[in-house]
């Protein structure tokens, strides 16, 4: 679960990281008071989960209360999936650092990373000049040792008082990473101010989805999703991603769903949505079908090859959904695996014919979407 910037900063602050003074506002009317409280100039920052906020114009420096009020009005009216607007004191910046902690899969250790050139796209630096990224691997059982932090900060080029300040921040960042079961926690940029302070300018933290049972205070509301449909699917526990193409994918199993997505693209088709109803969701074929149809696709393409996710049980759910929802578009069904011998007799009464070859099913769906074939 990705957290908003203000939530991340709250966690960092509690761990001992300095953050700029700020006020969170939930409507345009509150922004004026917030600006007065933090002082001018200040920065208005849209609390959205999509990346590249700066480039998208969702983070802006304002010089006057009027300017802030006008901008806030526009943000609250126009920005999709906007959670809130953070009004934050502008910092007097000397330079910027990048700091992050994540998990390194090959070693099974945590990885502390830093770069003396913060602020910009760290991915670009990682790709073009990887030597500029300083790394320290951390044994999760032993934890981050003071000598490791000290050496890391030295390698980042820090000296004197700043070395000490950034070292403390590294320790805090690692504690936040561990206590939040984070996939990633990042401070980018870490402002080094003209007054010699180190202040977190922006923060990202995502909690591992498998660890959410230890972090029940965080609830994912509508603004954590890109669309109403994605939100609704998430309430059902069904992975769902909306696109703007023609073919609704309803697949069991992540790897198979990704493969069908690829095959549709190879055949020149376009995907309306990705939906995966395998594993524990295989008895939710009805819900899955409803989510697909709500997207108004030209065709629904069902592909499964399950073991525990029994083909006959999924077929029964599909037949029931067809009877109840009376879909207005054709359905292509390719169901295999445990119980597949019963699928024909279940699907025939609702007018569906079972295919057994994935590529054949994909070609048929693409042909229907193009108007070259009928169901």
């Amino acid at each position: 679960m990705k957290l908003f910037e203000y939530q991340t900063k709250e966690i960092l602050k509690n761990a001992g990281v300095r953050i700029p003074q700020s006020v969170l506002t939930e409507c345009a009317d509150d922004v004026g008071d917030a600006v007065v409280a933090v002082g001018l100039p200040c920065v208005l920052k849209c609390q959205v989960l999509s990346g590249g906020r700066g480039k998208a114009g969702l983070v802006k420096l304002v010089q006057t209360v009027d300017e802030a009020a006008a901008l806030a009005k526009r943000y609250f009216a126009e920005v999709p999936s906007l959670h809130a607007v953070l009004v934050e004191q502008a910092a007097d910046i000397e330079s910027e650092l990048y700091l992050a902690v994540t998990i390194d899969a090959p070693s099974g250790k945590a990885l502390l990373m830093g770069c003396a050139e913060g602020g910009v796209e760290i991915e670009t630096i990682a790709a073009n000049t990887p030597e500029k990224i300083v790394k320290e691997w951390i044994d999760l059982d032993k934890g981050l040792q003071p000598f490791e932090i000290s050496d890391f900060a030295f390698r980042l080029g820090l000296r004197g008082d700043l070395l000490k300040k950034v070292s403390r921040i590294c320790g805090a960042l690692y504690r936040a990473f561990r206590s939040m079961d984070a996939e990633l926690v990042e401070i980018n940029p870490l402002f080094l101010t003209k007054a010699g302070e180190a202040v977190a300018g922006d923060g990202k933290l995502s909690i591992d989805d498998n660890s959410m049972f230890r972090h029940t205070a965080y609830e994912k509301g509508r603004s954590y999703y890109q669309s109403d449909m994605e939100y609704e699917a998430a309430q059902e526990g069904i992975p769902y991603i909306e696109f703007d193409g023609d073919i609704s994918l309803m697949c069991a199993g992540a790897g198979l769903a990704n493969t069908v997505y690829d095959l549709v693209n190879y055949e020149g088709g376009t995907v309306a949505n990705y939906l995966e109803f395998g594993g524990p969701n295989y008895m939710k074929a009805g819900t899955a079908m409803r989510l697909c149809l709500a997207n108004e696709p030209k065709v629904v393409l069902i592909v499964t090859f399950g073991t525990i996710a029994r083909a006959d049980v999924m077929a029964e759910g599909i037949a029931k959904a067809v009877r109840e929802l009376k879909p207005g578009c054709p359905i292509v069904a390719c169901l295999r695996g445990t119980g597949e011998e019963r699928v024909d007799e279940i699907l025939a009464p609702v007018g569906l014919k079972r295919l057994s070859d994935t590529e054949e099913a994909v070609r048929k769906a693409v042909a229907i979407a193009d108007g070259r074939a009928q169901a």
Binding site: I103, S107, D208, I241, A257, Y266, T307
Partner: protein
């Protein structure tokens, strides 16, 4: 021969009396797997699927010689179960659960590395040597997928394993050993670590890897092929070739960030190392035929 397990492997099952544990242990036994003992806390003295049940792994290994442990416990308890078997000296462990907390996945990986153990999983359906033994929840009865033969298979995806392996079998081949390393971001064992055993196995002619976008496991395989640590034909099928960057589709392990881990990148390094990469599941069979014909 198969790698990792065969009909002689003495298997201990952790969580044997649970619903999933007893259901799949019964299948393991019916297929011919030698299950010598089970463990469920507070159930010592019971018998399940023909095996005596013990309170702890320590109690079980006092009475039985054990080669491998099969873990059927919920995700929150996987780390403890794996540590328990490692503590009793078991060095091959298979764990299936989907949903192991990430930091615990990492600790399990680190623990396996530190004692030289092979821990397979999580988020997998396990391992199978068709016709010999199975540890996991693999539908060995689907003959057009789990046919005995001479191709080694390693996979990150359960659903795709059926799809791709069916194509291998349709092309006239069968499976020597199939290993599901799983779809988690931190699999406890990685593709390349099994290549030496497949290389040495006289009954494996070629290896198929079923990978996907994200992570670096496919790149590690490419490195082994390139440096000739693995010299048999290697065919890969990778899903997520057209997946939009930065979007998590499916497995948590399957995400590309910062232009790394894309299927295009993985294909490039695998092909330049000398491996073959199929664009579609069906091509896996065709490429195997080509590669094996060339070797004759």
């Amino acid at each position: 021969m198969s790698i990792l397990i065969d009909q002689n492997t003495r298997v201990l099952v952790q969580g044997i009396t649970g619903k999933e544990g007893s259901f799949w242990t019964q299948h393991m036994v019916e297929m011919g797997t030698r299950v010598v003992a089970g463990v469920t806390p507070n159930k010592q003295g019971q018998v399940c699927c023909g095996a005596p049940v013990y309170h702890s792994v320590r109690n079980a290994v006092r009475e039985h010689a054990v080669d491998a442990a099969m873990v059927f416990v919920p995700p929150k308890f996987v780390m403890d179960a794996v540590m328990e078997s490692l503590d009793s000296g078991i060095r091959l462990i298979v764990t299936l659960a989907d949903g192991i907390p990430l930091h615990e996945q990492a600790k399990v990986r680190a623990a396996a590395l530190s004692c030289g153990a092979t821990v397979v999983g999580g988020n997998t359906s396990g391992i199978i040597a068709p016709g010999k033994a199975m540890m996991g929840s693999i539908p060995y009865w689907i003959e057009r997928v789990y046919k005995p033969g001479r191709i080694g298979i390693m996979t990150r995806s359960g659903s795709l394993t059926n799809e791709v392996t069916a194509m291998v079998v349709a092309a006239g081949f069968g499976v020597s050993t199939l290993i599901g390393v799983g779809g988690d971001p931190v699999p406890a064992a990685r593709f390349a670590e099994f290549l030496p055993a497949f290389e040495a196995d006289g009954e494996t002619d070629a290896v198929v890897i079923i990978g996907e976008l994200g992570g670096t496991m496919e790149e590690e395989v490419a490195e082994a092929v390139k440096t000739r640590r693995f010299t048999k034909p290697l065919v890969a099928f990778l899903s997520g070739r057209t997946a939009p960057a930065g979007t998590r589709m499916g497995h948590a392990g399957a995400i590309i960030t910062g232009g790394k881990g894309s299927v295009a990148d993985k294909t490039r390094v695998l092909e330049s190392a000398g491996a073959l990469v199929a664009r579609r599941p069906r091509e896996v069979g065709t490429l195997l035929n080509t590669a094996l014909a060339e070797r004759k």
